[in-house]
Amino acid sequence: MTQHRPLRDWLRRNLFSDAFSAATTVALVVAALCWLPDLIDWLLLQAVFRADAVACQAANHAGACWGVVAEKYRIILFGRYPHQEQWRPLLATVLLLVVIVASGRGLLPLRAMLLAWAVTLPVFFILMGGDRFGLQPVGSDQWGGFPLTLLLATLGMLLAFPLAILVALGRFSSLPLLRGLCRSYVELVRGVPLISVLFLASFLFPLLLPPGISIDVLLRVLFGIVLFAAAYLSETIRGGLLAIPAGQHDAAAALGLGRWQAMRWIILPQALRAVVPSMMNSAVSIFKDTSLVTIVSLYELTGSLSLALAGDPEWRSFHLEGYLFIALIYWIGCHAMSRFSRGFEHAAH
């Protein structure tokens, strides 16, 4: 007698396929029963959601103190930006996010997209910096929190991209000197930690410029991030270029295209399309790596959390809740980018 029992079949296939699997299932369920109630207690049931330091202290870490986020979210999200003017970074961030999401989802035709970027980036800087259209000037040393994280990641990626293409193409040049230079740059940067590049940008760049000229620390750090990201991106693009079958080169040559024409119109577009998922991985890394600028005293998201909590004896014992809050922000950003890259892969196949 064969009877169709979907639930039983499903359980057998997924949870009890053999003795080891069954033991794993039992062990995991028992562990969940032991730990989950405590976790839910801490996260929600015994947690304090009001911005009330006394209630948080009274909970004595048996429940999370989400009140710390309610109390400090403006400093965590916007750093030292003047309180009254914080609508400006908020608006700038929302605008930039809208353009990023619209570009990622392909909601706009190419021309409109380029136009949107060309408008949004200057608007972002005007909103943040002010000193125009009656906006009060705010120096870039006061920029902080999420807008700074977003700015560093976006500009880092946008500026690294053309440089990376040039370096990747340089590695296929017929000039040995150019090939050697591009290769040394990539190997050098990939061999050292980002923090050393940031130290270079923050301590050494001021010395390299002629006396009298100084650039803002934000730009210097951005420059460092671009140099760093371009090396990794160029390796990705080079991989894409190598993966294009020789027939494509031959066909382009047969059509009478020169070497660089073939590169520009035939090879590069295919190579770039093929490596979009790996480039998204680089974008995720850059987004996470922006947290390192806090070590050279820029108050992006991670830095502004310390700014908000470290000096406040009432709230400083609730750092963990603050870390979890910004971890969630980073997680959403990274997760969205990997989702996009997976979607692209499915669409391509």
Partner: protein, 323 residues
């Protein structure tokens, strides 16, 4: 085509000249800047006394020792955290990666959740969080948690039994009224860094391992099982040797990034190479020299690892060819 060759040579000469001019201009500007600000240059500071202490060190060090020795102690500390972290992350990552391929749905989801959660949050943030958990949320040394007999965990770190001690083969930590004595003590900084680096890198190792095994065609397993091999034999003799070819190169890269990521210790005050070099930089003002030293050491480490990895790949290639 001789004309083409001459043109190429000319272009390269122009590039070289342009680069040299840029370099000369930068060095000139730097020299002028340093004169103006009264910054001295040169590596002579390396032999002068460091003038600062190092919280914990594998090599014997005090502030009278030279800056060079301080940097060596920093490098030793980098390796002291990187090597165990490489071991832990590889083991844990392999388990999680295998878990993601398990027929058990719960285990698969749990391992996927681990990878997703740890990989998508900046390492720096995780390190700061671990450091906060160890130093602020754990009980004081007098009320240390006892994880196992003679293994104590508290605000002052982790104490475990270790070889040696007075008059015995093994030195067991004991809980006193105020602190823990004996055994090997890991400081909170070391513990947070070790945990953070290992758990973060394990997520990437897991992905590497999963991808490597998934890349072996299904037919291989099916053929092995049809030949009567058990699942374990199939894994050990058929899947693993083929998967390792795809796993080892990216795995070495993960180990290398772990070593580079150890430099984030500067944020929680564990005195590894970058942290010590940063202190030296602040003490002596020799930015160019200190940054060059950091970069040179890491480049050498990278080259050594690349060499080791190529050797492993060759060896592994030989295994696969012979079996």
């Amino acid at each position: 085509m001789p004309a083409q060759r001459w043109r190429n040579l000319l272009v390269q000469a122009l590039i070289a000249a342009g680069l040299l001019a840029l370099l000369w201009w930068l060095l000139d500007a730097t020299a002028a800047n340093m004169r103006e600000r009264g910054i001295r240059s040169g590596f002579d500071f390396l032999l002068e006394p460091a003038g600062f202490g190092i919280g914990e060190s594998l090599l014997p060090f005090d502030s009278g020792d030279s800056a060079l020795w301080a940097l060596a102690a920093g490098l030793a500390n980098t390796l002291r955290v990187a090597l165990p972290a490489i071991l832990i992350s590889t083991l844990l990552g392999t388990l999680v990666g295998l878990g993601r391929l398990s027929p058990n749905l719960l285990l698969r989801k749990l391992c996927a959740a681990y990878v997703e959660a740890l990989r998508n949050v900046p390492l720096l943030l995780q390190l700061l969080a671990w450091y906060f958990i160890v130093t602020d949320l754990l009980p004081a040394a007098s009320k240390a948690l006892q994880l196992a007999p003679h293994v104590f965990l508290s605000k002052s770190g982790l104490s475990v039994p270790w070889l040696g001690g007075d008059g015995g083969l093994i030195d067991l930590p004991q809980r006193g009224a105020m602190n823990i004595s004996g055994g090997a003590a890991m400081t909170p900084e070391y513990l947070a860094l070790l945990l953070g680096l290992s758990l973060y890198t394990a997520a990437f190792v897991a992905e590497t391992v999963r991808a490597g095994i998934a890349a072996v065609p299904r037919g291989q397993s099916e053929a092995a099982l049809a030949l009567g091999l058990t699942r374990l034999q199939n894994f050990r003799l058929v899947l693993l040797p083929q998967a390792l070819r795809g796993i080892i190169p990216p795995l070495t890269n993960q180990h290398l990034s772990l070593t580079k990521n150890a430099s984030l210790a500067v944020a929680i005050g564990y005195p590894e190479l970058v942290s010590v070099a940063n202190t030296t930089l602040n003490q002596t003002g020799r930015a160019a020299e200190c940054i060059t030293l950091i970069m040179a050491v890491y480049l050498i480490l990278s080259l050594l690892t690349a060499w080791l990895s190529a050797w492993l790949e060759r060896r592994n290639g030989r295994w696969a060819d012979h079996s």
